[in-house]
């Protein structure tokens, strides 16, 4: 093995707290670090980061590195890749893991090329090979029709981005001890040539798709915007969120941020209900990890029935109201 040490996961905050993907990364990161007999570190980059980062220690980190400068207020490929490059060259981690988030998807590929190492994105499983001690990275390909396992034999660190909600998050232990270490990448700010000139945050009413335990999804079969009101009512009843496949989003029957799939959100709720959608591989790749999958579609040949646990073949206009009425009645009994 090389003289490299440590497993480093890249932490992210959501509204000032550890993002759910970060506790999941800490879960898998701790397991891999223990198998390699190494330490687990977390790196946070941002501006005015605050205290929450030290909680990563309670969730399994031995060290928490923090790069906190006004320059990193907004994510910009240039500045972030530059900072990560300096960090990796100094700390020399063996493994570097990201969430498959907006940040990870942009940063990890460019960084991997700068470092001349191999990255695998959107992994659903990570393991250490017993003999070679290499990181085996499993990722879905062909829209989830197949799985491929990759290793990176030469470049270092070995890099991966991890799909949300597939790894077991670590549990909090407030008695764990660790160190918070500020890191100064010493970047030349004049060399940063891009800039973020605006941001629009989508209005999310209710529960975020990625964090919802129940997701009700609508597809092309709904054929107009109005049925989405029904789906929203069902989602409210089940304490969940509404999603959609690509056609309703493109046709503007529902907001674009409803989209579940390779384009859009990758979700794995405990209950997924797909209504009037065929189950294109694009969409399946974003939801096939759901625990219980339910489909309502009038076409018995729809691909969605191939991955559904429970299905109803029928017109949603008739099935759905009766289903909702019964759900309401059943839910009032608890």
């Amino acid at each position: 093995m090389t003289g490299r040490k440590d497993v480093v996961i890249v932490g992210e905050l959501s509204d000032g707290n550890l993002a759910p993907t970060t506790t999941e990364l800490l879960g898998i990161g701790r397991k891999l670090a223990d198998e390699l007999g190494q330490e687990l570190s977390t790196l946070f980059v941002g501006s005015g980061i605050g205290e929450a980062v030290s909680e990563a220690i309670f969730f399994g980190a031995d060290k928490v590195y923090v790069i906190d400068k006004p320059l990193f207020k907004d994510y910009l490929t240039d500045s972030y890749v530059g900072a990560f490059e300096k960090f990796v060259k100094q700390i020399e981690p063996e493994l570097l893991l990201f969430g498959h988030t907006s940040l990870g998807r942009d940063l990890a590929p460019r960084l991997a090329f700068r470092l001349g190492t191999g990255l695998t994105q959107d992994c659903v499983e990570l393991a250490i090979a017993p003999e070679t001690k290499l990181l085996q990275k499993t990722k879905p390909i062909y829209g989830g029709n197949a799985l491929a396992i990759y290793v990176c034999e030469e470049g270092r660190p070995q890099m991966a981005t991890i799909r949300a909600k597939v790894m077991q998050p670590s549990t909090e232990d407030t008695s764990r001890k660790g160190e918070v270490i500020p890191f100064d990448p010493g970047l030349d700010e004049a060399a940063i040539i891009g800039k973020v000139i605006g941001k629009t945050k989508e209005e999310i009413i209710g529960i975020k798709l990625e964090e919802a335990n129940v997701i009700v999804c609508g597809g092309r079969g709904l054929s107009r915007p109005e049925p989405f009101r029904q789906l929203e009512e069902l989602a409210r009843m089940l304490n969940g969120a509404v999603g959609a496949t690509r056609p309703p989003c493109d046709a503007k029957w529902c907001p674009a941020h409803y989209q579940v799939g390779l384009t859009g959100k990758l979700v794995s709720p405990s209950l997924y209900i797909g209504i009037g959608l065929s189950g294109a591989s694009q969409h399946q790749a974003g939801m096939s990890g759901s625990k219980t999958i339910v489909a309502i579609n009038k076409d018995p040949e729809a691909n969605i029935f191939g991955i559904a646990h429970y299905g109803v073949v029928g017109e949603y206009e008739k099935v759905l109201p009766a289903f909702m009425e019964k759900c309401k009645e059943l839910l009032s009994k608890t």
Binding site: Y75, T77, T101, D106, P109, R110, A112, F113, R114, G118, L119, T120, Q121, Q136, P140, I141, Y142, G143, N145, A146, L147, A148, I149, Y150, V151, C152, I193, G194, V196, I197, G198, K199, T200, E202, E210, H257, L262, T263, K265, L271, S281, T292, V294, I296, G306, H309, Y310, G311, V312, V313, K318, V319, L320, P321, A322, F323, K326, C327, L330, L331
Partner: protein, 259 residues
């Protein structure tokens, strides 16, 4: 604007799951006989994004594809959509490459082509979904990259682009030359007329091989490729009338404690 769009010819990811077969030895998907290869759909969005710029600004679009001889069809299709030139990068030595080796060949080909203002790629391939080639080309060429772009505005030596991020949109400005990876939010790709398709197929497409471009060594190695077992069988919930099936579905979900 001088633009280069990188496109890939792939096995249609929307073929029914039961027609999808792999060759575990070769670690490749097997193309069913009756299925046509298609342009990767995000790459088609990248072509559309380039054409939108060309609609309002005098431009030249060169389409580049790394693949087999048949990838020429995909280049011709892009020309029928409105692109101007094409280059095919094809050599047995270019096969079995990972994202690193692919981006390397494309970056070398772009250098060989010479001048450009903007390079456009799809945000990820529709088959291997690696999502690295665009950023990789930009890094190898030392130019700025912006990924997951839904809208592009080019003006005065720079581009202002809208990125699609998890909680909304972000507007980023970078100077040219630059590279963007395009997402489907850019809008429905235009459909070429039959006449244009026929005319495009007369266009000469030069092929560059490993004598023109020396390939690089891949970084990742695929250990195995497999189709996960699907023992799952859907339990169909029925009823005399659709409404009854709906009620029975609710009862079933309560029984298995899903609601």
């Amino acid at each position: 604007m001088n633009m280069i769009v990188c496109v890939k010819e792939i096995l249609d990811p929307e073929i029914p799951a039961k027609s999808f077969k792999i060759d575990p030895e070769a670690k490749r998907a097997i193309k069913p006989q009756d299925v046509q290869l298609v342009i990767s759909d995000y790459d088609e969005s990248a072509v559309e994004a380039a054409l939108k710029i060309k609609d309002s600004l005098e431009s030249k679009i060169t389409v580049m594809s790394l693949g087999n001889e048949s990838a020429r069809n995909v280049i011709w299709r892009c020309i029928a959509m409105g692109a101007d030139e094409g280059v095919l990068l094809s050599d047995p030595l270019f096969n079995d490459s990972d994202s690193f080796a692919t981006a390397f060949v494309l970056a070398e080909a772009i250098k060989k082509l010479g001048d450009f203002d903007l390079i456009l790629c799809g945000r990820q391939e529709g088959d291997w979904d690696a999502g690295q080639v665009g950023s990789g080309i930009a890094e190898l060429l030392g130019i700025p990259s912006v990924t997951m772009v839904g809208n592009i505005e080019a003006k005065d030596g720079r581009v202002v682009v809208e990125r699609v991020i998890s909680d909304g949109r972000e507007t980023v400005e970078v100077p040219l030359p630059a590279l963007v990876t395009v997402s489907s939010e850019v809008g429905e790709p235009r459909y070429p007329s039959f006449r244009r398709v026929r005319e495009a197929s007369k266009k000469e497409i030069p092929t560059w091989n490993a004598q023109d471009i020396t390939p690089a060594k891949p970084r990742n190695k695929m250990l195995s490729l497999f189709v996960p077992p699907r023992e799952l069988k859907c339990e169909f919930i029925t009823g005399e009338i659709p409404e009854e099936a709906g009620i029975n579905l609710a009862l079933k979900l309560r029984e298995v404690k899903a609601i």
